[in-house]
């Protein structure tokens, strides 16, 4: 599995997404990560291990605790993945913009109005 597939499958789980969301606000211990969930620390540790293997989270032993934090760049790499697909569509829409300019011009009244309509417009 390449890096992005690993990251995406790691983020496919709602609990793991919540863990990542929590870690965007700063490093946390397994205890702290487990708090909002009705889950054992062991279950949370498994999720963290999954995120660690996917390269999203790094874990560091401090005394008896494990401190977890986001690996810098991991989330940005996922964002870039979607950003490129967005750019593909943006370039498509830019070609559509050019087509629409023509269609709007065809649908509008002629650019050089007759003397009558011109003088009307000036009076208005």
């Amino acid at each position: 599995m390449d890096f992005l597939s690993a990251t995406f499958s790691a983020l496919a789980d709602p609990t793991r997404r919540s863990i990542v969301d929590r870690l965007t606000r700063g490093a946390a211990t397994i205890n702290e990560l487990a708090e909002p969930f009705a889950m054992s620390q062991q279950a949370i540790s498994k999720h963290v291990a999954y995120l660690e293997r996917a390269g999203v989270v790094t874990k560091q032993r401090i005394g008896r605790q494990h401190l977890c934090q986001l690996r810098p760049g991991a989330i940005e790499e996922v964002a870039i993945w979607a950003e490129r697909y967005r750019q593909l569509w943006e370039s498509r829409f830019q070609r559509l913009d050019a087509v629409l300019v023509e269609l709007v011009a065809e649908a509008s009244p002629p650019l050089s109005p007759s003397p009558i309509s011109k003088s009307r417009r000036e009076r208005a």
Partner: protein
């Protein structure tokens, strides 16, 4: 996640990890009747839908409820990449619901259901929102990954267009 462009007119995309959906939204500077025409007239569609470096050839295009379509992207070496689907519902000028399949995958049947909504905005502009629902998260991710390849290619193209300028400076 949602990627927000800096430009107000720019394309927005939402593709939350682990879901089967991609939502793409863009504001276009034309009334929706005209935008709808650009989506349902095959000659007009061919001018904008394909990737920039490919020619788009429409084999069949029946933009009405129960109709179907098939078109090819043709690259510089003449390789053809076919896409096809069925128009489930075409309600001018506000909605198109259709299936979409890239025929070049190793196995057939990886179809998405695409709904395009055309919303009239003040000042004669139109917001187009397309939601694609894939049969699996893997299918959705593969589609975005294929877009990534195109995106990279187009980025390189833009770069190579820019290089002479940069070199001249």
């Amino acid at each position: 996640m949602t990627t927000q462009p800096t430009d107000q007119l720019g394309t927005q995309i939402t593709a939350a990890p682990g879901t089967q959906e991609v939502v793409i939204s863009r504001v276009l500077n034309a009334p929706r009747e005209i935008v709808f025409r650009a989506y349902t007239d095959p000659v007009l569609l061919a001018r904008w839908l394909g990737p920039r470096e490919y020619e788009l050839i429409v084999e069949r295009f029946e933009p009405w409820s129960g109709g179907s379509y098939r078109y090819f992207n043709v690259d510089a070496n003449g390789n053809r990449y076919a896409f096809s689907g069925v128009c489930h519902d075409v309600s001018a000028p506000e909605r198109i619901i259709q299936t979409f399949e890239f025929e070049g995958l190793p196995e057939r049947g990886h179809v998405s259901l695409d709904t395009a909504l055309f919303e009239a905005l003040p000042d004669g502009r139109t917001r187009v929102t397309t939601k694609s629902v894939f049969q699996s998260v893997a299918d959705r991710d593969a589609m975005i990954a294929s877009g990534m390849e195109w995106g990279v290619r187009e980025s390189y193209e833009r770069l190579s267009e820019l290089l002479p300028e940069l070199l001249a400076q």
